[in-house]
Amino acid sequence: MALLAIFRSGRYFALALAASTVAFMGIAVFSQARLLAGIIPDGEIALAKKVEIIFAIPYGMLTDMTPNSLLALAITVLFGVSVAGIVYYFQLYRATAVSAMSAFSAGGVASGIIALGCAACGSLVFGFLASFFSASSLLIFIPYQSIVFGTLSIMMLGVSLYLLNKKLASV
């Protein structure tokens, strides 16, 4: 599987892990947005206490495993894999694009990849971002039936990864 092969490089594994961790922290912490909106601006609560509460939220999600936290974990793992895969795809594309566009600046090439230069890259990025946003926002916003919607979102992320894998295999 072309997508999994990229994780032989420690760099992409670390990137996937970092992206997954950041995303999991984001989903977990923002699921208690109302609590945070109350404590963060409160000058009477010590900073150490605020940090303790903020970190207790994702920690608690991992220790008290519920179907929702499992979904969040699955979504963020897929998110991390997608980020690493897309970066890898960018690198591959860049290798060919650089020689063809040597007259352009680095920024131009990078933005071109996202905008017009690589239509395939754009659809990949947007497809996966849409899946991630829908998945994570559904978990956060919908109080009921979030398992059903979360599972559907995971399937969307799965399709996004399948397409990415196909593109990587065809390079």
Partner: protein, 223 residues
Amino acid sequence: MFRLAAGKIISIGIVIAVLGVGAATLLTNSSADDKSDKSGDAVIIEATDHFLGDRSAPVKIVEYAEVECPYCKKLQPILLRILSEYDGKVSFVYRHFPLTIHPKSFTEATALECVAEDGGDEKFFRYLDKLYAASPSNNNIDLAILPRIAEEMGIQEETFSKCLASDRYRARILRDVETGIGLNVDSVPHLIVVAPDGKEFVFSKSPSYAALRAVIKTALGEK
């Protein structure tokens, strides 16, 4: 150079993704919070509230819940664990918030009140535990078990059934719902941890043990 640019794009992407989710959440909740700020709604502990633990405990956890909610059922052992760990320091107030998607939860709320009529808060919470244990959640309970459970607890079945069939606790339950709406409760379980100085910590989603404990420690001023 290109490597740096691609790395930057991805980093920015991750940050945007996380901030986007967060900002959207905050925006959604800010309207509700604004309402709360304007009306100045705060939890008012009432004499009719059902208490588990010491009524004079410095920290009170007020929960809006209903029996058919699976998240409320999962939260119950966490609340009991916190109460046993902070005996005398934390008490628990249960308020009814039966959801229309679970019509049987209103009958269960009435049953809880009927039990409390006979045996006070002690039996109220024992009956609540038994209901959580007996119900498969999501409105799948067979309501015929309500009198049976009450009878097991020493409550006369006839008296209980008469109470259940009557409308006398409707206003009491709706009063809880009204206070909940006033506090922007829109789903259950909804927890408000009230500190000794009146500061409120609101969990609009079911908290984990670790998160709830961290908030209790802060409310109690523990290091």
